[in-house]
């Protein structure tokens, strides 16, 4: 990988790693100064990441995402930005370590794939930009919802076991986590729906068919159905709290499976740009 391509991948991963270190340190000690340092580190990491992606796009004359690596890198960045928004608004720094673990996982996967070398003609379609943006926003919504769900379940367990530890001091209340999960899931679902509609229009233009049972399409449909089901279920009054969190995580597993699938099956018609790996 060239040096210029390092920044939005391994470079940003390393910076997120450093931020995670600070967040964990704050989580354990709780000192305000350490917390501020952690936030500053994360802002710097996100800024650098954004800069790296912008430079990559300008250098090639075609902006990310073109390829799974870049898409994941963008998902990670927008997840960080959503998290930073939550933190700035509610001072919910306790979620930081949870969010960063997931972000770093995305970044490692993104970095092993790396940027795309050439841009497929399909990606030059006008609809591609909105389609990709919607999907990326959807993914980061789901990522945040998964982070919140994990935090919810962890805190729920501690409260039920009557062993309140550090988690309890640092995390928002169960009700607060539940409300945020709800909003994040809804955000993800709305953007996924938009992204899928745009995607099928794009498919029609490129291949003449709206739907072609391509594996990527199938797994996305499954994700959509699972989140749809999770959202329907939570309307039921007895389906609250830890069950909602658990169903969110089940739905999120299809996102993870989807990502792994595309990175394994390059033969899918719905592949992204040719990758460097």
């Amino acid at each position: 990988m060239e040096f210029g391509q390092l920044l939005p991948f391994w470079g940003a991963t390393a910076l997120y790693g450093v931020s995670l270190g600070f967040y964990v340190q704050w989580f354990r000690a709780g000192a305000a100064a350490v917390g501020r340092r952690a936030s500053v580190a994360l802002w710097v990491a996100a800024g650098t990441h954004l800069l790296g992606l912008a430079l990559l796009g300008f250098g090639r004359g075609f902006g990310p995402p073109t390829g799974l690596g870049e898409s994941l890198s963008l998902v990670a960045l927008s997840t960080v930005l959503v998290y930073l928004y939550l933190e700035a608004r509610g001072n919910e720094r306790g979620l930081g370590p949870f969010a960063l673990v997931l972000v770093i996982a995305f970044m490692v996967k993104a970095s092993t794939i790396g940027p795309a070398l050439e841009v497929e003609p399909l990606l030059r379609e006008h609809l591609y930009g909105p389609h990709a943006s919607a999907i990326i926003l959807a993914m980061s919504g789901f990522a945040i919802s998964a982070v919140l769900s994990v935090a919810y379940l962890a805190q729920y367990r501690q409260l039920r076991d009557k062993k309140p530890g550090l988690l309890m001091r640092r995390l928002p209340s169960l009700q607060g986590l539940d409300g945020m999960t709800r909003r994040a899931t809804r955000l993800g679902f709305v953007f996924l729906t938009i992204g899928m509609v745009l995607g099928s229009l794009l498919a029609h233009r490129a291949w003449g068919e709206y739907w072609s049972w391509d594996p990527k399409q199938c797994i996305t449909l499954l994700t959509w159905l699972l989140y749809g089901a999770a959202m329907m279920l939570r309307r039921r009054r007895d389906w609250q709290g830890e069950r909602v969190a658990a169903s969110n995580l089940v739905a999120f597993s299809s996102v993870v499976v989807g990502i792994l699938m595309i990175s394994w099956f390059f033969d899918s018609a719905h592949r992204f740009g040719v990758t460097a790996s």
Binding site: A29, A31, Q155, L159, R160, P164, L174, Q175, D238, R243
Partner: protein, 419 residues
């Protein structure tokens, strides 16, 4: 510093010595007029009454304050002398800093005392009682208290069963104002926890008791509504928090009862605080998903755990206090050198002026005179520079009084009382 606190005196005596606003003004008058006391401040809270004073003669100052308090309260001082503590010099400063940091409080690390220290300072300033030394001491005490609270976790965690119940509630629910609380039983324990929950925002409180009249009395006191004993189940499904404190050999809430009530309303999250012994809530209730059941032992354990961690944090806090005290004492000691240095400068200045005067007639014009004046002045400053810094350094070391005496005799200065 002369004072009395919750550790040295029982509440009856503290009441007697409490300084009410009127008495405080009278005390200010007395402190103001006393010639042994150059600066003073009074810190009076429900747990402590302390007089901070700067005096050239600490022991006489102490006796004077003792007398003032006796006069103020109209009792003989012997009746409380053994409950008073007296601290001098560094120890007095350390005491103030520890008080401001909450290290001397009944509840370790509590936050109210910091505001009270600040108020005491403002009051002393307004009455022109405190000057340079106490200004600085109180300012630094407040800074120290703030630093302790941001750098350590001394003020985190629950201190009582009631506050543990509140902090758990706040971990389950976002905003207690939106939660309804059902209090089962009209005894003191339950009422205390209910009051605590109200303090943290709970508005809708319902009291349910077998004997309705007792429920009514308590409900009136707490500004709550009354629930008849036979409608308990209906309300059980409407509230988010249940506090039980009923003397009953049999559990009041059983699994089937709670389950049925919740099923009816389709609710799932319920926080049950069981304060009674024997327990009012059957152990099986805790198995219902979405329910959080804590009994007195669970809460007590949380309080003890938090107490341990507070104590561990207190060690860190003491280090911060040490650091801040050292800083203050350095400033204070260096300050002791100032009068001596002024004396020296004055003496040398006299010599200089006399010498200039002596050669005045031998000089030509005013320009020459001015030149000589300037040169000698600069010479004086240069000569004084080294002894000045050296003395300021030496007074920080052992026995500043001895250092000052030596310095004075070295330069042939008249001996002078400190201060």
């Amino acid at each position: 510093m002369l004072g009395q606190n919750h550790r040295t005196a029982p509440v009856e005596l503290r009441e007697k010595l409490a300084v009410t606003p009127e008495k405080r003004d009278a005390l200010a008058e007395m402190l103001m007029c006393d010639r042994f006391i150059t600066e003073s401040a009074v810190l009076s809270t429900c747990n402590r009454m302390e007089v901070y004073a700067v005096s050239d003669d600490p022991h006489r100052g102490r006796a004077r304050i003792d007398g003032m308090l006796a006069e103020l309260h109209g009792v003989s001082s012997s009746s409380w002398t053994d409950t008073l503590y007296f601290r001098e010099e560094d120890d007095a400063v350390r005491h103030l800093f520890r008080v401001a940091s909450g290290l001397d409080s009944m509840v370790l690390g509590e936050g109210q005392i910091l505001a009270q220290v600040r108020d005491a300072h403002d009051w002393a300033k307004d009455h022109a009682l405190s000057r340079e030394v106490l200004h600085r001491a109180f300012d630094e005490a407040v800074a120290c208290g703030k630093r302790v609270r941001t750098d350590t976790q001394i003020s985190e965690g629950a201190v009582s069963v009631a506050s543990a119940a509140v902090s758990l509630s706040r971990k389950i629910f976002d905003d207690l104002a939106g939660q309804s609380v059902l209090l089962i039983g009209a005894g003191d324990t339950g009422a205390r926890t209910a009051r605590h929950l109200q303090m943290f925002g709970v508005r809708d409180l319902r009291v349910c008791n077998r004997t309705r009249s007792r429920a009514e009395t308590l409900a009136h006191e707490l500004n709550a509504s009354v629930v008849p004993w036979d409608q308990l189940d209906d309300h059980l499904s409407e509230v988010g928090i249940v506090v039980t404190a009923v003397h009953s050999p049999e559990p009041v809430l059983t699994e089937s009862r709670v389950k049925a009530a919740l099923k009816e309303a389709g609710r799932r999250t319920l926080f049950v605080i069981d304060l009674a012994v024997p327990r009012n809530v059957h152990a099986d209730v805790a198995k219902i998903p979405g329910l959080f059941v804590y009994d007195v032992d669970d809460l007590q354990k949380l309080v003890l755990d938090d107490e341990d961690s507070r104590r561990a944090e207190a060690l860190k806090a003491e280090e911060i206090v040490d650091d801040q005290v050292r800083h203050f004492v350095q400033w204070y000691r260096a300050r002791a050198a100032v009068p001596t240095l002024n004396d020296l400068r004055m003496q040398l200045e006299c010599v200089r002026q006399a010498e200039v005067e002596a050669i005045r007639n031998k000089l030509g014009d005013d320009a020459d005179l001015e030149l000589v004046d300037r040169v000698t002045r600069r010479l004086l400053n240069k000569v004084l520079h080294c002894p000045t810094t050296e003395l300021k350094r030496r007074v920080l070391e052992s026995d500043p009084d001895q250092q000052l005496r030596d310095f004075r005799s070295l330069f042939g200065l008249e001996p002078r009382e400190r201060g």
